[in-house]
């Protein structure tokens, strides 16, 4: 069952919370609404579910207009940020609720509930109260409850926000499998770009209620449409500079770019940590005679180094005061033998350059 949002707009107290949001989640697809907190993602989700009414725009479920359909008749499963489990009901009663409401016979309810509890790896917990479960278990009960009435669409609002990293990983895996095996269309809201990239087939990046970009995780990462997307997705450094001689110059660093027509205008360079080359300590590296066409090298001082898994993250302060984050493997770091306080030489392999609203 597909989900289409078409120009959804929502104003609250004269403020536009959601502004003309359009996107499609095809049947069986996982789509993430990604953006900073307060960007209107949850409101979009609630409008799709029918929990909130759009001021304008339409919602289509399975190709049919659902904008005026009451929430009870939309048959979409919704998982709330805090799970919203019925606290006075047992796990089994929670999962059975949507079936009992639809007057499903008792025997079938029992069968379906135990099937769902098995599927969500919660066997034997049916008689527990939500307060007696761990965070991850509650999340799975919320999923089972949302799936019970046979919904083919699942809407999830920050589903893994309050869980620790390990539980989050296993739940992601479970959700992916669920969507795959049962052909369930999933729209989830998250502010965690790593989660969005890891889980979804397509990502809708939202900022201040507006869609910045819709694309696959790869498209979003490799070809960010706007400065916001480039800086929000993936770890990045932001350098300011201007166009000079057809190149983007940020202090001593520069990137080749066909920017002739923008000569003299201010630019922003979004730099991924792995697009920075760390050449070595000043004085240690024998600099080749400067090739005017080659990459320009800048000096930076190492402010901080931290180990993240196999990589070493190095924070630099450049000569002109701007900050730059570099990432190298731990082998490369020990080969270079650099430490905090050292002066090092760097150059840019690549960067995303934005001239105001003009993107390369």
């Amino acid at each position: 069952m597909s989900v289409v949002a078409d120009g959804l707009t929502r104003r609250i107290d004269g403020q536009t919370i959601v502004d003309g949001v359009s996107f499609e989640a095809r049947a069986g697809e996982m789509v993430a609404l990604l953006g900073p907190s307060g960007g209107g993602k949850s409101t979009v989700l609630r409008m799709i579910a029918g929990l909130e009414e759009p001021d304008s725009g339409e919602v289509f479920l399975h190709g049919e207009r659902a904008t005026e359909l009451p929430v009870q008749e939309r048959r979409v499963g919704f998982v709330f940020q805090g799970y919203a489990l019925f606290k006075h009901m047992t796990v089994a009663e929670n999962v059975a609720f949507g079936l009992a409401v639809r007057k499903v016979p008792r025997a079938e309810i029992d069968r379906k509930v135990s099937e769902l509890l098995d599927l969500m790896e919660l066997p034997g917990l049916g008689a527990r109260l939500p307060s007696e479960l761990s965070g991850g278990q509650r999340q799975r009960v919320a999923l089972a409850r949302a799936l019970a009435p046979g919904s083919k669409v699942l809407l999830l609002d920050e589903p893994f926000g309050a869980l620790d990293a390990k539980v989050r990983m296993s739940l992601r895996e479970q959700l992916r499998r669920l969507s795959h095996e049962r052909g369930i269309t999933v729209v989830l809201v998250t502010h965690d770009q790593e989660e969005a990239m890891d889980l979804s087939d397509r990502v809708v990046v939202l900022q201040r209620g507006k869609v910045e970009q819709v694309g696959t995780p790869a498209e979003i990462y490799d070809h960010p449409a706007t400065e916001f997307v480039a800086s929000f997705v993936g770890a990045t450094s932001v350098l300011r500079g201007e166009v000079r001689g057809g190149r983007a110059e940020m202090g001593a660093l520069q990137v080749e770019a066909p920017l002739g027509e923008h000569e003299g205008r201010a630019v922003t360079a979004i730099v991924r940590p792995h697009d920075v080359e760390l050449r070595g300590r000043v004085g240690q590296v024998i600099e080749p005679p400067r090739d005017p066409a080659g990459p320009r090298v800048a000096t930076g001082k190492i402010e901080r180094m931290s180990r993240v898994g196999h990589m070493v993250k190095i924070q630099l302060q450049l000569g002109d005061g701007q900050s730059l984050t570099v990432e190298v493997t731990k082998e490369r770091a020990s080969e270079l033998g650099v430490g905090a306080g050292d002066l090092v030489l760097v150059n840019l392999r690549d960067a995303k350059i934005f001239v105001q609203d003009y993107a390369i």
């Binding site: 929430v71 709330f80 805090g82 919203a84 019925f86 606290k87 006075h88 409401v101 109260l129 307060s131």
Partner: protein, 279 residues
């Protein structure tokens, strides 16, 4: 060193003594006096006094007042609390403030206003006449008065619970296909039940003890509109000490029973809410 400790222990002892005399003197002594007075002429006199037709009738009237106030306030109080918490409309804050008026206004004034409204030439007299009910100097007026004085309890107990549970559980029920009424019955009501029970207990306690409003509105006619509290008042005036004592003892016993129930509820509510907050 030892001396100082001794003198500190002495000060503590004195403080405990003050507390015992204060609580014991003001609460226990009257209770003991009540029991003593009620049985001063023996158990037989006590039972004769309490089983007197006027006394039984007064108890029945009080029972009716309690039942009506509890039912009316439970239903409309929950509804009012629901609307005050969940809805946004102009004048909501004013309405919310008005809820406390019965606490601030003397019950005697409440009774008086009811007489003014429904008595001869009263503003609402045509309405009650049209409906064929006598309100002033009759049971319906007493029910109104009792409901009025005990109105804030259910609303004030249920409102914070409604605020605390939020709307997510209700919304979850909607997405699962439950209509609004079913959601209220199956999701909201169970979630607010302890607050509601507590509010009902307070309402009952207040209704049992009500005197001024009901007396003013009813005139307290023995065997007709006299409540248990006005029975005590009249018995005192008639120098029927055993009757006054016996009725006072029964009323106190009922109130203490409610107090114990309230205490149990409070514990239960605290236990449930810590459990639910944990989830």
């Amino acid at each position: 060193m030892a001396e100082r400790r001794r003198s500190r222990r002495g000060a503590r002892g004195a403080l405990i003594g003050v507390a015992v005399v204060y609580v014991g003197g003001l609460i226990l002594l009257p209770l003991v006096t009540l029991v003593g007075g009620a049985f001063a002429d023996g158990a037989g006199a006590f039972f004769r006094a309490i089983l007197h037709p006027d006394a039984l009738h007064a108890l029945a009237v009080t029972g009716l007042m309690v039942a009506s106030a509890v039912v009316l306030n439970a239903v409309f109080g929950t509804l009012a609390a629901w609307i005050l918490v969940r809805d946004r409309f102009p004048g909501r804050k004013v309405l919310s403030a008005l809820v406390d008026v019965p606490f601030a206004v003397s019950p005697v004034i409440a009774g008086f206003v009811l007489i003014e409204l429904f008595g001869k030439g009263g503003l609402l007299r045509p309405l009650s006449d049209a409906l064929g009910v006598q309100i002033a100097f009759a049971l319906p007026g007493m029910v109104l008065a009792t409901t009025f004085v005990s109105l804030p309890f259910v609303i004030r107990e249920v409102m914070p619970v409604l605020e605390e549970i939020g709307t997510d559980q209700e919304k979850a029920a909607y997405t699962l296909g439950a209509p609004a009424l079913l959601t209220f019955r199956k999701v909201t009501l169970p979630a607010i039940r302890w607050g509601l029970y507590y509010g009902i207990t307070l309402t009952a306690a207040r209704a049992i003890g009500e005197f001024g409003a009901v007396l003013v509105v009813s005139g307290g006619v023995a065997g007709r509109t006299e409540t248990a509290t006005s029975f005590v008042y009249r018995a005192l005036e008639d120098r029927n000490d055993t009757g006054a004592n016996a009725m006072a003892l029964v009323l106190s016993a009922a109130s203490i029973g409610l107090l114990l129930a309230m205490d149990a509820l409070k514990h239960r509510r605290a236990a449930v809410s810590t459990k639910e907050v944990a989830s």
